[in-house]
């Protein structure tokens, strides 16, 4: 059993791990994919103080090493279900009721913790079924900086109208012969040899929908104190309702959520 289990190893989860571990708590981070989070797709970061121009992968590898050095444990397993162990939930005494133990089932094991920090971030919104069918055999990419260079001198299409789409178009214009641009629901042009999707992001919170309040868009409702509607469950980083989703605000959430969890365990 762990004092605190953190779900997600992006910057919010890793920062929470560092804080909780330094406070003497036993900490496990569960990560379904790879540590690092969304920022590993960014090649140059200019707004992270103290390390001007650092790349996302370099920054996250440093933070990973720091977390491991400080005693944080990471298991690469996807969380399938999280439940409250009933024997710890008494209805008689409200004060006792919040002292629940959480049981977490993953694709490879079972874990339990006294407090849980959800730091699952967001994921790219997937192409609609209709557009996936229109795409046919053509490659679909959610990362122009990863896959753009495969289409040197070839026509491609970018789907989306937000900042990410603009960024992807600009990047691809230096590579592709032609960068077509369509909005969310438009038909996919036939001449495009690859489809780059940038139609926004959605919070990775489906697993928690019966445990904590989510807003209409699926974000976990929590204020700056990172406390969710359920005592003992905390939300940190991009998956939380907030106005500014940046690397540094995610890191700040990690610290706040860890302190809140430590306080809860006291």
């Amino acid at each position: 059993m762990y004092d605190i289990i953190i779900i997600g190893a992006g910057i919010a989860g890793m920062t929470a791990g560092i804080y909780a571990s330094r406070a003497g708590k036993t900490v496990l981070i569960l990560e379904g994919k790879m540590h690092g989070g969304q920022i590993i797709n960014t090649s140059v970061i200019e707004n992270w103080p103290g390390d001007y121009g650092v790349s996302g992968p370099d920054l996250m590898n440093k933070i990973y090493n720091q977390a491991i050095e400080l005693g944080v444990k990471i298991e690469y397993e996807e969380v399938l279900e999280i439940t409250r162990k009933p024997e710890y939930a008494t209805t008689e005494d409200a004060a006792d009721e919040i002292r629940q133990l959480w049981s977490i089932k993953t694709d490879d094991g079972d874990y339990s913790a006294k407090a849980v920090i959800i730091a699952t971030g967001t994921e790219p919104r997937k192409l609609s079924k209709k557009q996936t069918e229109e795409a046919g055999e053509r490659p679909i990419s959610y990362c122009a900086t990863c896959d753009g260079a495969f289409y040197k001198g070839k026509p491609v299409v970018v789907i989306g109208s937000g900042n990410t789409a603009k960024h992807e178009i600009k990047y691809l214009e230096g590579i592709a012969s032609e960068v077509l641009h369509i909005h969310h629901d438009d038909p996919i042009p036939e001449q495009a040899e690859a489809i780059f999707v940038a139609i926004g992001r959605i919070p990775t919170t489906a697993v928690f929908k019966n445990l904590v309040d989510l807003d209409a868009n699926g974000y976990i409702v929590a204020k700056e104190d990172c406390k969710t509607s359920t005592p003992g469950l905390f939300a940190a980083g991009d998956c939380r309702t907030k106005t500014i989703r940046q690397l540094i605000t995610a890191a700040a959430d990690g610290a706040t959520a860890a302190e809140a969890a430590i306080d809860f365990l006291a």
Binding site: K33, M34, I40, T42, S43, P57, Y76, T145, C146, A149
Partner: protein
């Protein structure tokens, strides 16, 4: 014989996350032949294996493709992919 092909490029950020993983993998599994393929230098190999998204790892058994995964993988998942 099992072979692991790791397709990457210098301009690909997420690929950099794979570098320490692949080094660790090589140390832990000397029995598996690991080839790191820079897709800009070995374009024909990337084409042969129809690699269109990177990072991408392809597992070969006796020269036949038996598994493939796109995206960054932690060590344990890479090991799992190779236990065919």
């Amino acid at each position: 014989m099992i072979e692991l092909l790791d397709f990457y490029a210098d301009w690909c950020g997420p690929c950099k996350m794979m570098t320490p993983v692949v080094s660790e993998f090589k140390k832990a599994h000397p029995e598996i032949k690991v080839r790191q393929i820079n897709i800009d230098e070995e374009e024909e190999l990337a084409e042969k294996f129809k690699v269109m998204n990177i990072p991408c790892v392809v597992v070969l058994k006796e020269g036949e493709e038996v598994a493939r995964e796109v995206g960054v993988l932690p060590l344990r998942k890479l090991e799992k992919l190779c236990t065919i």
